[in-house]
């Protein structure tokens, strides 16, 4: 195992930290080498301060994030008279006299920004404290021993600074006084020293999260609550002399529970009637919400943030048509309280697990879509690089989601903070290396597989498949026989373009570059004659066939040429389509196989504005190159035989035979299309494919895919102390199954802690560790470490039941507290880290949207399925329009619904542990002005007005408040509303009541729960 680097990264590895060598690299004017490294590296993690620290640190300096104060003008400085440095204002002295001089006279060569000549940096205290290559430059308290002063005073002819002239005496005096007074430098350092001290593997347990998980003893002491959680909370409160706030009112709690457990507002009848006067009533409500299938939807969405769930890819906006199955898996899994350890195993290695029945098998397979959900650069031309990037994305997500670790940091070097050596990274990478996720082409493609189905359906699809294969064989045979007929066809030679299907571009319409000779010697010929290159000027002639117009869609693209033995057998033909360019080599000695006229170049997709042309080149060809015509045959339309016989001299018998064959072909093609369409309808799922034998991945030196070290045996994080049985990988196994077991093991100290913390954060607004995706040394410390461990133990002991944890948490007093003003308590715990009061809860955009739809009576509660409109190939500018719950909105990386964008929806490209909480003007703008919101208010007016009863204004306002806020208006609010309604102007088109409801959607109480 690689030895972790020493704290300062100096002295441990002489090669890597050779100052001169590093300087040489930096000073190299020709940066091409660096550029090459950069090209490989740019795709990598993009790192961390100490990564650049790596470069500058070596020059004995610290990174400084010194925000400079406004420089004092040097004139003022020169005017300074006697300079007396007093203890208390030594910092002021520095700011007034030293820093301005440093900025004006020294930084140009001695700052991090300016490459630090002589290894000396003067723009941070750490810089001069570390000194330059020739040693320390300032000895605090001893001006005469300080090299800095020696240089400034120009006493040594070899050491004179600044080089362009000695500074005025008063500045030198100021420096002398400053050094004599102790060289106080108030500028902040860039990073505390923690940033550079990596935790060694064998000392991993110095950090709490890597210690084995033990169930802590419940604190003793009396609490009113029956919940053990409160014992942990109360003991901390008591220690600070704090007391928990009383529970919120029943109406507030009902609303809180509905949104927290279902993501929906309580129906008005529940809000109005339900009272939570007794504990039994409270528990009853909790249980009924937990058993609602909508609980599954709400919690699935929370997990989807963590697993960067999306239904498209950023580049080119490709739609992932089968991703939704994974979402539905999560909805089901959470609704049925599937054990979370099992969910882990299914997401990592569902395809490799044993199964007893079909439904289980389907669930397992679909769960593994998790691995294929990343937002990768499928256009990357260096496929080795792409594969490692893909792996890295998977590891990074697994690390954050399950382990709360930043594994990606160890791709290019040992993790600088956490006990994760680079070897561990490549050991883990090995366990995923056999899971093939892409089929490579110019644009690599993700993998979809047929979903196993009930036996009857399987048989039906199998039968269709067999028939398709038989038909394909027959079609091939018929097509191969065509050339025999063609010998006759050749006689008639010309085929009119108008007789051909699709879009045909004749050579007469092609853009010709270089020398092409007209000819019509050999038929059949499309249109009027063809051209050839006279087998000369190789590489100088091209012909570009570009249709004037082409409707978007898929096409069979075909080339026509007249075959003969003097033709080139290696003609290069390139098809430019929406998906890039594809080169096909055509042998023009062989007669075209379709109708004796056409040679298919393959199937291609064209879009509006996309390139759509075929380029024939004579480069490197070994005979005559022929260009006659190109056909773009739409694939969706009816497939017809294009050849129309116009030859009156043809042998009639042959014509009959040909007609019969043509007819058969026509029928077969038709049937083939039907079969393909039926097979297309078969359910498929997004996945990876296990490809054995297993491989060990070598260390990639500095993360470079083209610079490999020795292979690392497949394995796991060595810092975690776990039973040997959980860390073994057999010779014949890829290790992915074992990875799943290792991650979901109760002995893994991270997994249960990470998940218990997540569930807490989902309900309490912040985690016990406030960085849910990072429990490493750079993450936050737990506010209640014992409570966290206790919850993790509860999770494991309950059989990894999410609902068990949820029930525990929402039944605690800590969860039920009311919002409270208590200035004494605020002083002690301003951030409410100890949970002494309730906190305003911000609704997610999904909940806001669902609530508006529910209130307006439009919410469609149907479960599951894909909502992507048929025919959507790219996600650009997708028009979202559905009244289903928000979770079913397609999550498109290039076009999220506006409301989602405005209200901090999770970035679907990376694992998100906690969403941003922004407060920006675009939020009220979209709430007040987006037509969608206005339309919901309008629908609600329609709903209210539809009843027989003609309510008074006050009755209306009451019922609207109950629907929107699950409460009645206060007197002030009622008055305000009545005033607003009455201020109506008669000529207004938009109803006043509509605006009132709309305004309630936009106001505080809609977005912030009590």
């Amino acid at each position: 195992m690689a030895r972790p680097k020493s704290c300062l990264g100096i002295g441990g590895e002489p090669n890597e930290f050779d100052v001169d060598q590093v300087k040489k690299v930096i000073e190299t004017t020709n940066r091409s080498d660096m550029h090459k490294k950069r090209a490989n590296k740019a795709f990598l993690c993009s790192f961390e301060p100490w990564c650049y620290g790596g470069r500058y640190f070596l020059l004995n300096c610290f990174l400084a994030m010194t925000f400079l104060a406004t420089p004092v003008r040097s004139q003022e400085l020169r005017n300074a008279q006697t300079l007396v440095v007093a203890e208390q204002d030594s910092a002021d002295f520095f700011e007034q006299h030293i820093r301005p001089a440093l900025i004006e006279h020294c930084y140009a060569c001695h700052a991090i920004d300016t490459e630090a000549n002589g290894g000396l940096v003067l723009d941070s205290p750490g810089g001069w404290q570390a000194g330059g290559e020739s040693g320390p430059v300032i000895e605090a308290g001893k001006p005469e021993g300080s090299r800095l002063l020696l240089a400034m005073t120009y006493q040594d002819p070899d050491l004179q600074m600044p080089p362009d002239g000695k500074l005025p005496q008063e500045i030198i005096t100021a420096f002398r006084d400053w050094i004599a007074a102790g060289a106080v430098d108030p500028r902040p350092e860039m990073e505390p020293s923690i940033a550079i001290s990596g935790l060694p593997v064998d000392e991993a347990e110095k950090h709490w999260a890597y210690r084995p998980l033990l169930r802590p003893r419940t604190p003793a002491g009396e609490t009113a609550s029956t919940s053990l959680i409160d014992k942990f909370i109360d003991i901390e409160l008591a220690a600070k002399g704090l007391q928990g706030a009383p529970p919120a009112d029943s109406g507030v709690l009902i609303r809180r529970l509905y949104f927290d457990l279902l993501g929906l507002p309580p129906p008005p009848e529940v809000a109005a009637l339900h009272q939570l006067d007794t504990e039994t009533e409270y528990l009853h409500l909790v249980d009924s919400l937990l058993s609602s299938p909508h609980f599954g939807e709400h919690f699935a969405r929370k997990w989807m943030d963590v697993v960067r769930y999306a239904e498209s890819i950023t580049l080119r906006g490709f739609v992932l048509p089968e991703a939704w199955r994974y979402r539905d898996y999560l909805v089901q899994a959470y609704a049925e309280d599937r054990p979370f350890d099992q969910m882990i195993r299914e997401q990592i290695a569902g395809d490799l697990l044993e199964h007893s029945d079909l439904r289980e098998r389907q669930m397992q397979l679909v769960a593994t879509s998790f691995l294929a959900m990343g937002n990768n650069n499928l256009e990357q031309q260096d496929k080795l690089q792409l594969e490692m990037d893909y792996l890295d994305e998977q590891l990074e997500t697994i690390g954050r989601a399950f382990l709360g670790q930043t594994l990606g940091c160890a791709r290019c070097h040992d993790h600088k903070f956490d006990p994760i050596p680079m070897r561990d990274y490549y050991a883990l990478a090995g366990t995923l290396r056999s899971a093939v996720a892409l089929e490579h082409a110019n644009l690599s493609m993700w993998i979809e597989q047929p979903l196993p189905l009930p036996a009857l359906q399987e048989e039906r699809f199998e039968a269709l498949n067999v028939e398709l294969q038989q038909i394909s064989v027959r079609i091939d045979t018929l097509n191969k026989n065509q050339p025999n007929l063609d010998s006759k066809r050749n006689k008639q030679k010309y085929v009119a373009i108008d007789d051909l299907a699709g879009t045909v571009v004749d050579d007469s319409q092609a853009k010709l570059v270089g020398h092409w000779k007209d000819s019509s010697s050999v038929g059949p010929i499309v249109g009027t004659g063809y051209r050839h290159d006279e087998d000369s000027g190789k590489g100088a002639a091209t012909a570009t066939f570009e249709p004037l117009e082409l409707a978007p869609g898929w096409y069979d693209v075909r080339l026509s040429y007249s075959a003969a033995s003097n033709r080139a057998s290696n003609v290069r033909v390139v098809v430019f389509s929406a998906d890039g360019q594809n080169e096909v080599e055509v042998n023009q000695q062989q007669p075209p196989d379709i109708d004796g006229l056409w040679k298919s170049l393959g199937k291609y997709r064209f879009e509006d504005n996309s390139q759509a042309f075929v380029l024939v080149s004579n480069a490197d060809s070994n005979g005559h190159v022929i260009v006659d015509a190109v056909q773009f045959l739409p694939l969706n339309g009816p497939s017809e035989l294009q050849f129309v016989d116009t030859d009156n001299n043809a042998d009639s018998e042959a014509v009959d035979v040909r007609a019969a064959l043509a007819d058969e072909l026509k029928q077969l093609e038709k049937r083939k299309q039907q079969l393909e369409a039926q097979l297309e309808a078969r359910p498929r799922f997004l996945t990876v494919v296990e490809k054995l034998p297993p491989v060990d991945v070598p260390i990639h030196i500095r993360g470079d895919v083209h610079n490999l070290g020795s292979p690392v045996p497949r394995g796991f994080l060595t810092a975690l102390r776990m039973p040997e049985a959980t860390t073994k990988i057999s010779e014949s196994s890829s290790g992915r199954r074992e990875l799943a077991e290792w991650l979901s093991s109760e002995h893994n100290p991270l997994t249960a802690r990470v998940y218990a913390n997540r569930v807490w954060s989902w309900l309490m607004g912040q985690g016990l560790v406030s960085t849910p995706n990072n429990l490493g040394t750079t993450g936050a410390s737990p506010s209640h470490p014992e409570l966290l461990d206790w919850l993790a133990a509860e999770l494991i002991d309950s059989g990894w039941s999410t609902k068990h944890l949820v029930r525990l948490i929402v039944c605690s007093e800590a969860y039920r507290r009311r919002l409270l003003n208590n200035s004494a308590a605020e002083q002690i715990d301003p951030g409410n880290q100890l949970y002494w009061k309730g906190q305003s809860r911000r609704l997610s955009p999904e909940a806001m949207r669902d609530a508006m739809l529910q209130i307006s009576g439009e919410l469609d509660m149907t479960f599951g399925g894909s909502l992507i409109r048929a025919g959507t190939k790219a996600d650009y500018d997708y028009q979202h329009a559905t009244t289903r719950r928000s979770i079913y909105h397609p999550v498109f990386r290039n076009s999220l619904p506006e409301l989602f964008e405005a209200f901090d929806f999770a970035d679907p490209s990376v694992s998100i542990g906690s969403r941003s909480r922004s407060t920006v003007a675009t939020q009220p703008l979209s709430l007040l002005n987006h037509p969608w919101v206005a339309a919901r208010a309008k629908s609600m007016v329609g709903r209210i007005r539809s009843g027989d009863h003609d309510p008074t204004s006050q009755e209306l306002i009451n019922s609207i408040f109950e629907a929107c806020y699950a409460r009645l208006p206060s007197d002030d609010e009622l008055l305000n509303c009545l005033e607003f309604l009455n201020a109506s102007q008669t000529d207004e088109e938009v109803e006043r009541l509509e605006l009132l409801i709309h305004s309630l959607f936009a106001a505080l109480d809609f977005r912030y729960l009590e």
């Binding site: 790192f47 950023t314 390139v574 605020e826 106001a1003």
Partner: protein, 468 residues
């Protein structure tokens, strides 16, 4: 700060750090709302950037990087390290040199060569700083476009405009500090003006699109409501907000911030439409930008709006000439003569923008940056009449903002293929642009996921030679 009810004036003062943003407090969670960096690292030479993005890749050897040898050796077959072939096969391949269809002429007292594609921009060469030795990452549009905007070829980095906005804060709190005019939805789309892990208030605000002529901001008002009624509604909501906060009987910074965001929204709703209204310009100005001519209208409007936003104090304004396809506007793989259409659409508006900024004294404090995600090859692609992508050598130019004028920096080889002297990597250009704004690219950092990130990753050097 906690526990004391904050008055809203204080919030509004703080809000100057971001468009309508109100720093709630760090208590919220680890991704809480942050104020902008707000402090300059050194003296700034410019206050803002206008980026004229030529999407798809302008050919340097047909525009500003004159290589007479291409005409002399037209058709010669020579080996090149073609970036695409190299990535695919690792091999050097042979290609035919192709001359430029356009004449080059010398302009200005600096004598800069410019092709007949850009006769109007050419009149301004004495104000331009040509960087001929550019090179970058990414052979395909998607990655290279992301690299240009975000300094990384993958998808999760903040865009340059959001870094600038974060670094400088807003000059005008009633407007966003970062605006992307008519951005493309392709090749990374919103990522190219997104804020990624920077706080959301620093993301770019989209004005208009490449397909619609209207240059407007989404949700800036309701056309179906009389202004009077909208005002009444806003007043009503503001009163409700107050009543609801009072009803809770607690002090809550986040709720105070939300109330203030409503007030900001309303001010913006009143202020922004004026800035966006090009009708306020004189007929002479509209004509100068080519808005009277269908050929130049679209880009002329965008450039004129850029000037107005610049006056209004927006920090980063991107003006895209492109389209929404995977092979965007300037991407002439098979037909380089088509460059003429694109040049005709942008040349006059760009020249007008430069004149206008100069005349108004804005050019000194504004950097105008013209460029593409990469250049094109000096040889023909597949022996056709087009040129393939070329990230290994291309030209961008800069004007104003302390960049040397009438100046050339760096060069490509004799064919214009690869930058050889005075090489400037895209990271270096980013670093230099930030430098001119008073920001140190190594210190403009943001903590995310346990580490600190910056626009230039771990690379980039300020090119001091190009600034005065």
């Amino acid at each position: 700060m906690f526990g004391t009810p904050l008055n809203r004036r204080k919030w509004l003062q703080q809000s100057a750090c971001g468009f309508g943003s109100l720093a709630a407090s760090a208590m919220l969670n680890d991704q809480a709302v942050f104020a902008s960096n707000q402090v300059l690292h050194h003296r700034a030479h410019a206050k803002r950037i206008i980026f004229l993005f030529m999407q798809g890749g302008v050919s340097q050897v047909d525009s500003f990087d004159y290589k007479p040898i291409l005409a002399k050796r037209h058709g010669d077959k020579l080996p090149f390290d073609d970036a695409r072939q190299l990535a695919k096969t690792g091999k050097r391949t042979e290609h035919h040199l192709m001359q430029s269809p356009w004449q080059f002429r010398q302009y200005g007292s600096c004598g800069q060569w410019v092709s007949d594609l850009f006769p109007e921009t050419a009149q301004h060469v004495d104000d331009l700083c040509m960087i001929h030795g550019m090179h970058t990452e990414g052979v395909a549009h998607g990655p290279a476009t992301l690299f240009l905007h975000c300094g990384a070829t993958n998808f999760i980095r903040p865009s340059m405009g959001s870094w600038v906005y974060y670094g400088l804060g807003a000059e005008n709190e009633n407007l966003p500090g970062f605006v992307s005019i008519a951005p493309s939805i392709g090749n990374g789309g919103p990522r190219n003006y997104g804020s990624a892990f920077l706080p959301p208030q620093f993301q770019g605000t989209r004005v208009g699109s490449l397909t619609a002529p209207q240059l407007s901001i989404d949700n800036l008002g309701r056309s179906d409501l009389p202004r009077q009624t909208q005002m009444q509604q806003v007043d009503f909501v503001n009163r409700l907000n107050r009543q609801q906060l009072d009803r809770r009987a607690i002090s809550d910074e986040e709720l105070e911030a939300t109330i203030a965001s409503h007030e900001l929204a309303w001010r913006m709703q009143q202020f922004a439409p004026e800035v966006l209204d090009l009708e306020r310009e004189s007929a002479h100005t509209l004509q100068a930008y080519g808005i009277d001519d269908p050929k130049t209208r679209a880009y002329g409007q965008r450039c004129l709006l850029a000037r107005r936003l610049c006056e209004a104090g927006v920090r980063f304004i991107q003006v895209t000439h492109g389209d929404n396809s995977a092979n965007p506007a300037w991407d002439q793989h098979s037909n380089i003569p088509k460059h003429a259409d694109h040049a005709a659409a942008v040349d006059k508006p760009i020249a007008a923008l430069l004149s206008d900024l100069k005349q108004r004294g804005l050019l000194d404090e504004t950097i105008v940056w013209w460029g593409s995600e990469f250049g094109r090859t000096p040889y023909s692609q597949e022996n056709g009449t087009g040129r393939d992508h070329n990230p290994r050598g291309f030209t961008v130019w800069l004007a104003g903002g302390g960049f040397k004028s009438g100046f050339r920096h760096g060069e490509t080889d004799e064919f214009g293929f690869q930058s050889i002297n005075g090489r400037v990597h895209m990271h270096d250009l980013h670093a230099t642009l930030l430098h001119q704004l008073g920001l140190d690219h190594k210190r403009l950092v943001f903590e995310h996921a346990g580490r600190q990130f910056r626009l230039t990753d771990i690379h980039g050097q300020v090119i001091h030679d190009v600034v005065s």
